[in-house]
């Protein structure tokens, strides 16, 4: 048994999944001024915000998550009252932004905090079995891996793999703390990249079994596998060997060859360390196997959506499969030297041909947690 993606719903600074994909195809960037109060103290001046509301309004992540999950369930024709439905929510920062607002309030300690809203256990209407995985910037990829396991082991009839993150002041502060100068825009794989910026985002995909009843139901693509690994090498710096293990795990789980990869939606954070490490791992695992994939990434357009990032990448991958169009890496002008010989999509969109090939998506997180997902047309 393999698994299918029945639906996918996304919300980024550029809007819905459809709008986001079109904007990225057009080369648009969703960055704007960071709207947090007293942002100057953070040494971060830009960000990728959803909507126009106050970024420090309480429990914003939950509202985006609920919206995406409801849309995904509806599009997949799933009724949690009639089927065994579980949900796995990946998040890097949970609702820590609300904890911070609570703590900075002069009345903190006098007002109780609803601790059960720190996670997203109650945020999926109609679904009792909800697990919150806080797996940093690859949380959504880990949620997708668990979702596929639940389907393949027949524990559930449908699983919502979701991801969500708002920006926390503490994470902004750490980004500002290590940046020599504030970054204006994420520029993945660019020789002159200046670092990462956070993007607000949510995404949900419904994973279902591939079986005989599926023919008449919505299908966006086949979920081949998600490979997982932990570097176990460094608290924050990526490790090429650890990333390679996640890639090889994905291919070996499904018994497919890296040479079949036609496009990669890369992690591409625009940091000094990530992009060369990701290039080295792709060269060693995918290019060395004979593939010459088109390489794109969306963080220049939508920022680093952290817990949602892997599932935003998945949505892009599914749209590459359905449209045959690969968007350019927004923010990339001159590829980094470590990417020499790799086919980055620069400036204009590219054709994804032949359409039967695999699209690979990458997500790596703090603590060396890696998730690599493979999809193909169903």
């Amino acid at each position: 048994m393999t698994a299918l993606i029945a639906s996918s719903s996304v919300l980024t600074c550029l809007g819905s999944g459809k709008r986001t994909f079109q904007a990225v195809l057009d080369g648009r960037c969703g960055a704007g001024p960071l709207r947090h109060a007293r942002a100057g103290a953070l040494n971060v001046t830009a960000g990728y915000h959803i909507g126009k509301d106050d970024p420090e309004r309480l429990f914003r992540a939950r509202t985006w998550l609920v919206r995406c999950v409801a849309a995904a369930l509806r599009q997949a024709w799933i009724d949690p009252r009639r089927q065994r439905v579980a949900a796995v929510v990946g998040t890097g920062l949970r609702e820590l932004a609300s904890v911070e607002a609570w703590a900075l309030d002069p009345g903190a300690g006098r007002q109780p905090f609803p601790v059960d809203r720190l996670d997203f256990g109650a945020a999926v209407p109609g679904v009792a079995d909800v697990v919150t995985l806080s797996n940093a910037c690859s949380a959504g990829g880990h949620a997708l891996a668990v979702a596929q396991d639940l389907i393949e082991l027949d524990v559930a009839d449908a699983v919502v793999a979701a991801g969500v993150d708002a920006m926390s002041r503490s994470m902004l502060a750490m980004i500002g703390r290590v940046a020599p100068a504030p970054t204006e825009q994420v520029r993945p794989f660019d020789a002159d990249r200046t670092g990462v910026l956070l993007g607000e985002g949510a995404a949900a995909a419904v994973v279902v079994p591939e079986d005989s009843t599926q023919a008449a139901r919505p299908t966006l693509g086949r979920l081949l596998a998600t490979g997982l690994s932990c570097d176990a090498q460094h608290q924050t710096a990526p490790d090429v060997d650890g990333i390679r293990r996640a890639m090889s795990d994905a291919f070996s789980r499904v018994g497919r060859a890296p040479g079949e990869v036609g496009a990669v939606v890369a992690h591409g954070t625009g940091t000094a360390l990530n992009d060369p490490a990701e290039c080295a791992a792709l060269k060693a695992e995918v290019l060395a196997a004979g593939a010459d994939p088109l390489i794109t990434g969306v963080k220049g357009a939508v920022g680093h959506t952290s817990g949602a990032a892997a599932l935003v990448n998945l949505d892009i991958a599914l749209r590459i499969l359905s449209t045959g169009r690969v968007p350019p890496v927004v923010g990339l002008r001159r590829p980094l030297p470590e990417g020499e010989g790799m086919r980055f999509v620069v400036g204009e969109q590219a054709r994804f041909e032949p359409r039967r090939r695999i699209v690979q998506t990458n997500a790596f997180g703090f603590g060396g947690v890696n998730a690599v997902t493979l999809v193909e047309a169903a």
Partner: protein, 305 residues
């Protein structure tokens, strides 16, 4: 669909598809600084039979449960700088569940076959709040870069992996009170899906002022760990499987005697149950997971058949 020896070994013959499999517990520890484990057990279990071993694990566990600020006595000094109490407590629990001696470091080659599933909700809230208060009072330059990893909520899981060299899948479960039950559920999936041959399930919560204020009540700082492998593993201490209705001996509720460990409670109870079966002669102990969804609210820990 991937298949593996691990998955096959973990499934019982004749089980209908979808039913969770039996796992072996091959290591366990309870790390509750300041808790009187033997006294708590005396309140719910018959008096121990005389002779060596009787409740001695609880005496040893109480004595070995160093507070987080003294974690170096167990873990060794190197690497503990800027580690939060919950992370230290988790490291202590894993160290003891692996049976390592005080000060012994087990980080030889990486172990890609070993996964980590860590459970904690409040482990990094103290650091997160400290960062934003420092920025508000003194500006961003005043924040220590050593705090950076703790701005991410997976700090407990990733630190356990880094410390012990566990390079398999690494999951951080932050699902409130249900975290322990969810963690066991995920550990079983990792084994059955062939993603890991061994899963280190660890849970820890702190009791710092921010955590307690957020929680809105007193917390018991502590941690627990169980090491899980496919059924039939050598050195099996006990097995764990979904509970059948009506089997309770002793009552699961009685195991919450050491205070409220919030997201760590489920794994602490599981580890206590494993000790009771392996070292107190209890044939079986039911563990309930408060807050868990229907279908996985309880498990039965029992002696290996």
């Amino acid at each position: 669909m991937p298949s593996s020896a691990a998955m096959d070994a973990g499934a019982l013959p004749g089980r209908p598809a979808g039913e969770p499999a039996v796992l072996a517990i091959t290591g366990c520890s309870v790390h509750l600084p300041g808790a009187d484990l033997p006294g708590a057990l005396d309140r719910v279990l018959p008096a121990p039979t005389s002779g060596p071993g009787s409740r001695s694990w609880a005496v040893r566990a109480s004595a070995a449960s160093c507070p987080p600020e003294q974690a170096a006595t167990l873990l060794g000094r190197k690497g503990l700088l800027a580690k939060e109490p919950a992370t230290r407590l988790a490291l202590c629990a894993v160290h003891r569940a692996l049976g390592l001696a005080a000060g012994q470091r087990a980080r030889d080659p990486l172990r890609p076959d070993t996964a980590v599933v860590a459970c904690s909700n409040l482990g990094n809230v103290g650091t997160v709040v400290d960062i934003v208060r420092t920025v508000a009072a003194e500006g961003g330059r005043a924040v220590s870069v050593l705090a950076a990893p703790s701005a991410s909520s997976n700090i407990v899981a990733s630190t356990v992996a880094l410390w012990f060299g566990f390079a398999g899948p690494n999951l951080m479960v932050c699902s409130g009170r249900a975290a322990g039950g969810d963690g066991l559920h995920l550990a079983g999936l990792l084994v059955r899906a062939g993603r890991a041959r061994r899963v280190v399930l660890v849970a820890a919560e702190p009791d710092d002022p921010v955590a307690s204020a957020l929680y809105g009540g007193p917390l018991r700082a502590g941690s627990g760990c169980v090491v899980l492998e496919p059924a039939g593993a050598t050195a099996t201490l006990a097995t764990v499987a979904p509970a059948a209705d009506g089997v309770v001996a002793p009552s699961a509720a009685a195991l919450g005697l050491w205070g409220d460990c919030y997201g760590a409670l489920g794994v602490v109870d599981l580890a206590v149950a494993a000790h009771l079966v392996a070292e107190e002669g209890q044939p079986q102990v039911k563990v309930s997971f408060d807050g868990a969804p229907p279908g996985r609210r309880a498990v039965l820990v029992r002696a290996e058949a």
